[in-house]
């Protein structure tokens, strides 16, 4: 009898030791998964719902994502209606009360930043516009520290035992990011005033940061594919301005620009819209390095 009780003691001590599983983070896009890794370190386990080669506007709310939301402790997404086509379906069908919007387990990054291009009216005749403003704010690196601060506070609420750790990670990130921001600003001085044409208006925040001018979009209206007459109009713009490049994201079809490229000598370049969208954009810092390098290359 005594030996049985003695044998139980180690089991009881095991039971009383809190099992500290990693905080499971379901990030909607790769940039948030990368930021969560920076702040969370080895205390979190991140999953990105989309890859760097997917258009986050149009994702299928498929069973594999339902299963991941069901297991998540924190859902960390862009918001501003970017994921409106699939995230609400996932959240409702995954039956995970911990990550319901409004709870500690749901983090909407758009609440921590100021949005640009807020439309005065929401009418679908204007195309598939974003009624709350342009959601592609990850492209202004000055926004990331605000989002990182909100993320840190949320992680501390969900995992209070590691609060000090998250504070340290945030401080380290802020120190390194500030230095990087200063570097990028210096390097990118010559980009101010550069003129570009974009496939889809996803670059307004980048343009706001670097002073780049967007003189046309390939989509006649947001969400509608380019028509022949619209492309002819863009050709006029090219001939009367000093457009240096067509900008597109990794998931966009290069053929859309081929008509214009055949008639001009302006290059069509991929700018990484998130971590991993190009081989060089391997982490948050290399991502913006690559954005600036690619823009400098065509701005000769």
């Amino acid at each position: 009898m005594r030996s049985l009780l003695l044998a139980l003691v180690p089991l009881l001590t095991l039971a009383s030791v809190p099992v500290h599983a990693a905080v499971e983070i379901f990030a909607c896009e790769p940039e948030w998964a990368a930021l969560a890794d920076e702040i969370g370190g080895d205390k979190v386990s991140t999953f990105s719902a989309t890859t760097a080669f997917q258009d986050a506007h149009f994702i299928q709310a498929r069973p594999s994502l339902l299963a991941r939301v069901r297991r998540a402790d924190l859902v960390f997404c862009t918001g501003a209606n970017l994921e409106i086509g699939w995230l609400p379906v996932l959240l409702r069908q995954a039956a995970n009360a911990a990550v319901a919007p409004g709870s500690n387990g749901f983090l909407d990054a758009s609440q921590s930043v100021r949005l640009l291009d807020v439309p005065t009216s929401a009418d679908r005749a204007e195309g598939d516009i974003h009624p709350n403003g342009n959601p592609h704010f990850q492209l202004d690196p000055r926004n990331l520290p605000h989002i990182a601060a909100t993320l840190t506070e949320r992680l501390q609420r969900l995992d209070s035992g590691n609060a000090a750790y998250y504070d340290e990670r945030l401080a380290a990130f802020n120190a390194r990011w500030t230095k990087a921001l200063a570097n990028w600003s210096t390097k990118a001085e010559n980009l101010a005033g550069m003129q570009v044409i974009v496939h889809h208006s996803a670059w307004v925040y980048l343009e706001d940061w670097l002073g780049i001018r967007e003189v046309g979009q390939m989509e006649p209206k947001p969400g509608l594919p380019p028509t022949a007459s619209h492309l002819a109009g863009l050709l006029d713009v090219v001939q009367t301005s000093d457009v240096k490049a067509f900008l597109r994201a990794s998931y966009q079809n290069p053929k859309a620009a081929s008509w214009l490229m055949d008639r001009t000598d302006i290059p069509d370049i991929v700018i990484p819209h998130t971590v991993g969208a190009t081989d060089e954009a391997s982490d948050l810092y290399a991502w913006f390095d690559d954005i600036i390098n690619r823009l400098l290359e065509v701005n000769r």
């Binding site: 997917q54 994702i59 709310a61 299963a67 699939w86 100021r114 802020n174 500030t178 509608l224």
Partner: protein
């Protein structure tokens, strides 16, 4: 002389001892001084680091854009902020049948009231008004009201009106009210969300379009990487294939299990197995059976199994410009009971099955094409009535092949042209239909 030497030696050793002690004491002193110095250095370093971190945070906050102004949401007196998401779907069709006068029956099947999705000529299909919103932190509610205007008949029907829990722990959820049952795959999709202008034959024959009824559904989603959801439903049994809310008002019971995952970044799948068990009390047929007057009322048991498989392909997971989806569902039903034809009673034992296979390929951001094959098989034993009825299967196998192409100007407007090579009823038919589907408003996302 010797004493003086002794004293000298003593004095020397004493001196050396004393000086050694002093040296040690000095060393102690200098050691502790060094320690103190080292501690001071460490302290300085610590404070410098903390200062540096604080300065970095301050710099980051100063260099970043100003914190956003709180969202201004219009007049403080307006209640509009909490309006539900409202959308309206308009559906209209123009149909052309080669055999307009022919019967629309499916031999061997007692059909419900729905005559089929379109008729010869111009018809306004159902216009669907959909409202949904979170009621509070624990409940979500949705309603779908269908408006019909079909010549003389027009009216509104509540297709769905239900609540769903948001905050049950551990993957449980409850749905209550009137809703589309969670069985099968197509059953959960509204008709305007399918790839074709009409329902596959098995859904028309087995469920009169869709199994939708008043009741309660409990489901559980497993916390596994393989998606796994299990559910059971208790429904009133007022809706086809049940009738009369038999069994004390819980005439239909269902159970289903769904699994799904990704093969890779471009391919995903969903598979499910479902079971429906109904107590039927005096179910009558609709359509021509009613018209011809030979409409036996069926009372008994009806149970069905459904196996569903969906495979979707989208290059790198981007479905917008190109995608392909394949759906296959197999349904199997047993019905047993008595028939009552104007007082004459008989028995009926039905062994019925059916399946459909469909593939839809989006080959351009605005164009897709689809092909569907559907078929039914009925093996019924009817005794005692003395007259032929719709339940006589006549050894016919209803089957049909449909081809469609549709144009999507945007996600919200669809124009569809479909051709049915229809050998499902006793009268072969070749049908053309042109359909439009227009969505306005806050369009909730589609499920897989």
């Amino acid at each position: 002389m010797r004493a003086r030497k002794f004293v000298a030696i003593l004095a020397c050793s004493g001196l050396s001892l004393w000086s050694a002690q002093v040296a040690v004491a000095q060393q102690d002193d200098s050691a502790s001084a060094a320690e103190l110095r080292a501690e001071l250095e460490q302290l300085k370093l610590d404070y410098e680091q903390r200062l540096a971190r604080l300065e970095a945070r301050l710099a980051a906050m100063e260099s970043a854009p100003a914190a956003p102004a709180p969202a201004t949401g219009g007049s403080a007196l307006s209640d509009k902020a909490f309006n539900p998401a409202i959308s309206l779907i308009l559906d209209g069709k123009y149909g052309h049948f080669s055999n307009a006068e022919g019967l629309r029956d499916l031999p061997g099947f007692q059909l419900g009231g729905e005559s089929g999705s379109f008729n010869n000529g111009l018809i306004l299909g159902e216009s669907e008004l959909n409202l949904q919103a979170n009621v509070d932190d624990k409940f979500f509610a949705a309603a779908t009201i269908a408006f019909e205007s079909d010549g003389d008949e027009s009216g509104a029907a509540v297709e769905e009106a239900y609540l769903q829990t948001l905050a049950l722990p551990d993957g449980f959820a409850i749905k209550a009210g009137r809703f589309y049952s969670g069985i099968g795959y197509l059953n959960g999709i509204h008709s305007h969300g399918t790839g074709f202008a009409d329902d596959p034959l098995p859904y028309r024959a087995f469920f009169n379009g869709r199994l939708a009824d008043t009741g309660i559904q409990a489901s559980w989603t497993a916390p596994t990487l393989l998606y796994a959801q299990f559910g059971v439903e208790a429904l009133s049994g007022n809706s086809f294939p049940a009738a009369g809310a038999a069994n004390s008002g819980v005439g239909t019971r269902t159970a289903f299990a769904k699994f799904g995952g990704d093969f890779n970044v471009s391919n995903s799948w969903l598979a499910s197995l479902s079971y429906v068990d109904s107590n039927v009390s005096q179910r009558s047929s609709g359509g021509t059976a009613e018209e011809s007057g030979i409409d036996p009322l069926f009372s008994g048991d009806s149970s069905s199994w459904i196996a569903s498989l969906v495979w979707k392909w989208a290059p790198y997971g981007n479905p917008r410009d190109r995608n392909f989806r394949f759906t296959a569902e197999y349904l199997d039903r047993q019905e047993d009971g008595v028939l009552d034809l104007d007082g004459v009673t008989g028995t009926y034992s039905g062994d019925q099955s059916g399946y459909y296979l469909e593939g839809v390929y989006r080959f351009h951001p605005q164009w897709s094409a689809g092909l569907r094959y559907d078929t039914l098989d009925a093996d019924n034993r009817v005794f005692g009535l003395g007259t032929p009825t719709v339940l006589d299967d006549n050894r016919e196998t209803p089957k049909r092949l449909s081809a469609m192409v549709d144009f999507w100007n945007s996600e919200f407007s669809i124009l569809r042209l479909q051709y049915n090579h229809d050998d499902s009823s006793l009268n072969r038919d070749r049908q053309w239909v042109l359909q439009y589907i227009m969505s306005m408003g806050a369009h909730g996302g589609h499920s897989f």
